[in-house]
C-alpha cells in the first residue's frame, strides 16, 4: 500500500529511517528527485542490511547513492530503465530519439568550439540564446 508520510523533506526522512530500522525491508528502491535526504536514507537502509537500488537525475546526489547503495542508475539511466525493462517499442523509440539528439548536440558543440575559437561564433551562439 502506498502511504503518504510527510511533505517536508526531513520529516519524511525521519519517519522512513525509523521505519527501515524497525521493519528491516529486504530491498529499498530510491527513484526520482532527491536532495540532501539521499544519503540519510541510503545510509540507514545500508545499516538495516537491505539491498538498495537508487536512481536520480540530480548529479549532486549521485556520489552519495553510489557510496551507500548496491546499484545506482546514473542520471538518464533512470528514464532508460523503463524502456530496458518493458521492451516496449514506443519506449525504445524514445530512447533512440534521445540518442539521436545527443549526437546532434555533440556535433553542435564541436562546431561551436571551433567557431568561437576563430572568433566567428557570435551569430551561432546567439542562435542558442534566441531559440
Amino acid at each position: 500500500m502506498v502511504r503518504y508520510v510527510a511533505g517536508e523533506q526531513f520529516a519524511f526522512t525521519a519517519t522512513v529511517n525509523g521505519y527501515m530500522m524497525r521493519e528491516r525491508p529486504a530491498t529499498n528502491i530510491y527513484m526520482g528527485g532527491f536532495f540532501a535526504e539521499s544519503l540519510l536514507l541510503a545510509e540507514t537502509g545500508n545499516a538495516a542490511g537491505s539491498i538498495q537500488i537508487a536512481g536520480t537525475p540530480r548529479p549532486e546526489q549521485l556520489p552519495f547513492f553510489i557510496a551507500a547503495c548496491d546499484y545506482t542508475l546514473l542520471g538518464e539511466e533512470l528514464y532508460a530503465a523503463s524502456a530496458y525493462l518493458s521492451h516496449q517499442p514506443v519506449m525504445l523509440g524514445g530512447l533512440k530519439g534521445q540518442d539521436f539528439v545527443k549526437m546532434l548536440l555533440v556535433i553542435c558543440l564541436v562546431l561551436g568550439v571551433l567557431l568561437v575559437t576563430f572568433g566567428i561564433g557570435e551569430t551561432y551562439l546567439g542562435w542558442f540564446e534566441s531559440v
Binding site: F10, T13, E43, G75, L78
Partner: protein, 219 residues
C-alpha cells in the same frame, strides 16, 4: 470514460502550456497558460491536504486498533491538530491563532519543527563519514580515482589540508579549483544534466500524448 477523460485533460493541459511558450503572455493562449499555472498551484497544493487526511486516517486507525506503537501515533495526531487547527482559526479571535508572530503555529515551528529539520540536516555529517569510509575502500580502478579526487578536494577545503598540499611542487589547490572543480566536475555535471533533461523531456512528451499513463494506477 475512466481513462479517456484523464488522457484528454493531460493532453490539452500539456499542449496549452508547451505551445503557449511561443506566444506572448497577453495572447489568449498565454493567458490560459498563466491561468493553468495558478490552477496547478491550487490542485497540487490541495494534494498536500489529501496527504494530511491520509496521515490522520492511517494513524487514527492504528490507535483505534491498538496496533504496535500506537501511543506514538497519538503523538502524531496531537501534533497534527496542535499545529494545524490554530493556524486555520481567524487571528481576530486570538493572537494565538493564524500563522503570524506570536501564534501557536509560529511557536511550534520555531521551537520544534525548524530545530528538528536543522538536526536531521546536521546528522548528514555522520552519515557522510560512514559513506566515505565505504566509498574509500577502493575496489577497482574507477573507485580508486573517486577516492583520490575526494581525498584531494577534502584536503584542499580545510586550511591545514591546503597547507599540506602546498608542500608538494606545483600549485595543487589551483589545479583542483580550476581543472577538477570547474573543469572535469563541471563537464560531467553538464553531461548528466543534458542527458537527464532529454530523458525528462521525452517522458513529458509521453505523458502529454497519453503513452505514459502509469500515474493513473490500475482499474
Amino acid at each position: 470514460m475512466r481513462t479517456t477523460v484523464p488522457i484528454a485533460v493531460a493532453f490539452i493541459a500539456g499542449m496549452v502550456v508547451a505551445v503557449s511558450y511561443f506566444f506572448a503572455d497577453e495572447s489568449a493562449i498565454g493567458w490560459l497558460r498563466l491561468e493553468f499555472l495558478v490552477w496547478l498551484i491550487i490542485v497540487g497544493g490541495m494534494t498536500l491536504a489529501l496527504g494530511v487526511v491520509s496521515i490522520v486516517r492511517v494513524n487514527w486507525d492504528a490507535v483505534k486498533k491498538r496496533k504496535e506503537g500506537w501511543p506514538y501515533k497519538v503523538l502524531t495526531l496531537v501534533s497534527v491538530f496542535a499545529m494545524g487547527v490554530p493556524a486555520v482559526l481567524p487571528e481576530s479571535w486570538s493572537p494565538l491563532f493564524g500563522r503570524n508572530q506570536g501564534s501557536i503555529y509560529e511557536w511550534l515551528f520555531t521551537y520544534l519543527d525548524a530545530p528538528m529539520m536543522a538536526t536531521m540536516f546536521a546528522t548528514l555529517a555522520f552519515y557522510i563519514a560512514s559513506a566515505a569510509y565505504r566509498a574509500f575502500r577502493a575496489r577497482n580502478a574507477e573507485a580508486t580515482v573517486l577516492l583520490i579526487t575526494a581525498t584531494a578536494v577534502m584536503l584542499w577545503r580545510v586550511p591545514m589540508g591546503e597547507a599540506f598540499l602546498n608542500l608538494f611542487p606545483g600549485d595543487i589547490p589551483y589545479f583542483l579549483n580550476t581543472y577538477i572543480m570547474a573543469g572535469a566536475n563541471m563537464a560531467v555535471q553538464r553531461g548528466i544534466i543534458i542527458g537527464a533533461a532529454l530523458g525528462a523531456a521525452s517522458m513529458s512528451l509521453r505523458i502529454i500524448l497519453g503513452i505514459e499513463r502509469t500515474y493513473m494506477g490500475r482499474g
